[in-house]
């Protein structure tokens, strides 16, 4: 079901957290609300599920205006960071609770719980209490409980933050699989760009209560609208380098990079260079000293301090002979350079 948020404003007392936000999530789409802590993504989530009243604006699920509908009648499933399972109930009672509240007959509840348990693959754990389940299993129970009412919208609030790295990878794929299989409209709230990029159809990147860019993960990575977006996405992160845009992009003391095609700006700019676009495979042009090497198994992360000041990060295949303290002269893939104005807008 399509979710439409129009001119959403939320103020806590005199502090306005979000002003006039518009957001549409397509039916069956999974959208990430991504942003640093305090950007208003959780506030948005609470407004959608009905915990917080919206100060102004409208919220529609499909054609139904739910702005004034209390949380209980909104048909929103929520999965919380700490799962929020009911500790005194078994997994089965937890999953069945929403139907019990709706006074469904017992047999029907049991059948539905069975179906959901199979979907999230915890069929054999139904008689355990949350304390007897691992983090990943609790997560699955929470997911099943959120979905049993067949809600219009599924909200996931940092669902993977409490899991260890390996389990996180597994649940990332699991949640996406379940979302695809059921075709439910879902919103994932996260501060982890990897989660957002790997799980979602589109990402809404938020900052200070505003959506700064709404795009597909690929587009957002390749074509960020601002320095903030470029810096937020990508792991290892992008490096920024101040430069003078003339015939070439002059970094200082004779070091310069070729201008990318289509860049028209003159004067002071900030260049954004992703690690994969700097290194020996791109020829030569910028010389500096290796100040940090971080082996990561399949590849190595190398920080290079340029002779002119400033720092660039490169990512090299493992086994590269580069050592700490080496002097290197590496090139930049100039058509992949992102240029920003000094106040952070994309040029």
């Amino acid at each position: 079901m399509e979710l439409r948020l129009t001119k959403f404003t939320k103020a806590f007392g005199p502090v306005t957290v979000i002003e006039n936000m518009d957001l549409t999530v397509g039916s069956g789409e999974m959208l990430a609300l991504l942003g640093p802590s305090g950007c208003g993504k959780s506030t948005t989530l609470f407004a959608i599920c009905g915990i917080h009243k919206m100060t102004s604006g409208k919220l529609h699920f499909g054609d139904r205006d739910v702005t004034a509908v209390p949380a209980q009648q909104r048909s929103v499933g929520v999965v919380f960071q700490n799962y929020a399972l009911y500790p005194h109930m078994t997994a089965e009672q937890n999953i069945g609770f929403p139907l019990k509240v709706m006074r469904h007959p017992k047999a029907e509840i049991a059948a539905e719980v069975r179906r959901l348990a199979d979907l999230v693959q915890i069929g054999e754990l139904l008689d355990r209490r949350p304390a007897q389940l691992s983090g990943g299993q609790q997560q699955r129970v929470a997911l099943a409980r959120a979905m049993i009412r067949k809600p219009d919208v599924l909200l996931l609030d940092e669902p993977l933050a409490n899991l260890d790295a390996k389990l996180r990878l597994e649940m990332r794929a699991e949640i996406r699989r379940i979302q695809r299989e059921t075709g439910i409209t879902a919103i994932l709230v996260t501060h982890d760009q990897v989660e957002a990029m790997s799980m979602c159809d589109r990402i809404a990147l938020m900052k200070d209560g505003e959506i700064v860019q709404l795009d597909t993960p690929k587009q957002m990575y390749a074509n960020p609208q601002s320095q903030f977006v470029a810096g937020f996405l990508g792991n290892p992160p992008i490096s920024f380098l101040p430069a003078q845009a003339e015939e070439q992009l002059v970094i200082g003391r004779g070091q310069a990079i070729k201008r990318p095609d289509g860049l028209e700006a003159r004067g002071e700019v900030v260049l954004g260079i992703r690690p994969e676009y700097f290194g020996p495979q791109h020829g030569t042009g910028l010389s500096g000293e290796v100040i940090f090497v971080e082996p990561q198994g399949r590849e190595e992360l190398v920080d290079v301090r340029l002779e002119t000041g400033g720092m660039l990060r490169a990512i090299l295949p493992a086994g590269d002979p580069v050592r700490l303290g080496d002097r290197v002269n590496w090139g930049v893939s100039s058509r992949n350079i992102l240029a920003f104005s000094t106040d952070g807008d994309r040029l």
């Binding site: 949380a71 209980q72 929020a84 009911y86 609770f97 929403p98």
Partner: protein, 275 residues
Amino acid sequence: MTGTPRIWPIVLILAIFSTPLVIMYLYQVIDSVASPDPGSLIPGRIDMSNWRFLWERIDTGRPTIWAVTFNTFVFASTTAFLVTLLSTTAGYALSRLNMPGRPYFLGGLIILHAFPTITLIIAIFIILQAMGLFDTLLGIILVKAALELPFGVWIMKGFYDTVPWEIEIAGVQDGASRFRVWWELVIPQVKPGLAALLIISFLSGWSEFVLPLVLAPGSSTQVLSTFMNAVIQDDATADFGLFKAIGMYYSIPVIVIYLIFQKQLMNIYGGGTKG
């Protein structure tokens, strides 16, 4: 329990300081069933006559022990029930609901909890008199419950504070009303607190002395503590054996309750201190 040698000096010091207490308890038990020779510490023959209060009136004009015990039980359990009931709802409100003046309520609770309530006794006396509740069980039940409430509310608030918000939000999202969320999802999380509070306020009521003494002095409303007081005060020659036997009888329920509910009582320190 394999203690290292270093622990023995500490045990010794503690033992020395506890000896008077141990002797007191010991003679409390011994003297209730034996009559020592005058001036001697060694108990003489076994003498169950001290326990005669159980099957006869110790003298005419006094209520039977069973009537007094019944009074004490009614007083303690009704107080405990009232305190627990009100603390359960008030604690939730203070912990969760955003109501006007909430910080003042919290500050007030602390002050009331620390307040020496005995200073209020004359005012309470006058109020009870005006309400016609002087010298009634109901009167002292209401007073005792009111005085115990700040403690109870504070403890329950502490327990509610440890229940994650998300559980309630999840309950609301699952379609349950606020009341149902509280009753079906939150109360089970604070059950240890409820149990502990119920027991503690029962014990507090069971051992209450001043309120019944001042506010319910009549013999029909006598509780065990005031009954004992009367026994020791009245007679020209005080019967210590009888007094100690009644004392034993009076403390047995307390000891039993402690033995049974030790674990629940410890909980109050686990959950309550987080308030």
